[in-house]
Amino acid sequence: MNCDDIRRELEPYVNGELDDDAAMQVAEHLRDCGECSLRHAQMSRLAQRLKGLTDAYRPIRDFEEGIMQVKQPGARHERPQREGFWRARGWAAAAAVLALCLIGAVVVASVPALARQLPLPVGSRLGDLETTSKQAQLQNHQMQGQIDKLKIEIKDIRSKLVSVIQTSKNPLSADVNYAVQSVVMQFVEAQYAGDLKKMKSLSTPAMQAEIDAHPQDYLRDKSGQVTFAQMTDVSKSGDTYLEFVRLIDTKTFNESQYQEDFELLKVGDRYLVNVEGMDA
């Protein structure tokens, strides 16, 4: 066989798919031909790297849960749609910043130092890495700069000490922050108390209807004790006030913290929850 013939067989050779005779012929040729041997080395390396890609990308979605939902309609409805819904909101940046700051502890001493120790997985949530690697690196870099500038304060909100991370560029007044954060905290407490009435009293009409339609989506385990691990400061987008809360409870989420994302609207002089959702 000449070099062209051999090169046609290299791909199956690298993947162990040639029969013994053919494999032997290729091996002999590779021993004597530097050019083909180099091609072989490159192809082996490339094959190895391609196989490694399946370890590099870990899908976030719980596919098993997707199946169980279809199997038991109504058991836990609409989660996949909700993911679509969340991303449509463009909350990714603030949510990612919050996620970055969250490694377990209730009080985070030094964010910049912590951020540098972060493993890649968390960092990779910062942008859609698939677009181009260069763009993603740039985003990571920019986000890192933002994190270095983040401020964390321990605040007393409704007699609870919470660490608040400043994520917004143009901070709102302390009064607005306190008012919005108080509503959010009361809402979460009502979720854990199973108090739908209280939750609705803190909600806009649209949210009230949503709670009536899917109360199970908004109620949390009543026996759980909830701790407010971290909150963002309030940021404003158009008429909407955004607030992200990181929680720990002693029941469903005792090992991992989870996040609730809130959108509030100002109605008269009150801030009311217009959208609430859980985030990973």
Binding site: R7, R8, L10, E11, P12, N15, E17, L38, A41, Q42, M43, R45, L46, A47, R49, L50, K51, G52, L53, T54, D55, A56, Y57, R58, P59, I60, R61, F63, E64, G66, I67, M68, V70, P80, E83, G84, R87, G90, A92, A93, A95, A96, P119, L120, P121, V122, S124, R125, L126, G127, D128, L129, E130, T132, S133, A136, Q137, Q139
Partner: protein
């Protein structure tokens, strides 16, 4: 654990066995969908649909030992449909968003995925089925409905192109 064993248990109604099959194959499926579809979210949807279909049609799988190529074929059909659908519609505006995955690879892996996504569709398919699903040439030929010789030449061509697009990183590694 062996797919055959898990398939048998799943067919007997053991959902935890199907969950194990999901865990064993989700990354291969996701990587394939990611290399073919427009966004990571679309890829995530495709994988979910593939598992749903596999779950509902598991009884129709004749040879449990062939679960892997069978599952790959389901995904291929779903991706085809999604690609076809997309061609007729205007793409949604591109907003920077979180990906549907967590990435824990090297910069080289990112470059490799980007290079793969830049190939022609026919080349992406054979590479994905070969290297993500570990299928044989004949199995790929059956799924793609083309002769085995075509699969072989597409694989060769695809790898050559990848090699060229990675602009020397492979060459350098091999030289070291």
């Amino acid at each position: 654990m062996d797919d055959r064993f898990l398939v048998a248990r799943a067919r007997a109604g053991d959902d935890s066995a199907f969950a194990a099959l999901i865990k064993a194959h989700e990354r291969s499926l996701y990587c394939t969908a990611l290399s073919l579809l427009r966004s990571s979210w679309e890829a995530s949807d495709a994988v979910q649909e593939a598992f749903l279909e596999a779950y509902s049609k598991l009884q129709t799988l004749r040879e449990p030992a062939k679960f892997r190529p069978w599952l790959a074929r389901i995904l291929v059909n779903i991706c085809y449909q999604m690609l076809g659908r997309g061609r007729r519609t205007v793409p949604v505006e591109e907003v920077p968003e979180r990906a549907a995955h967590v990435f824990i690879g090297s910069e080289e892996s990112l470059d490799l995925m980007a290079a793969l996504r830049s190939l022609d569709e026919e080349h992406r398919w054979v590479v994905a089925l070969r290297y993500f699903h570990d299928l044989k040439v004949d199995e790929i030929a059956a799924i793609m409905d083309c002769p085995a010789g075509t699969v072989k030449s597409r694989l060769n061509r695809a790898l050559e192109k990848l090699n060229a697009r990675l602009a020397g990183t492979i060459q350098k590694e091999v030289a070291e």
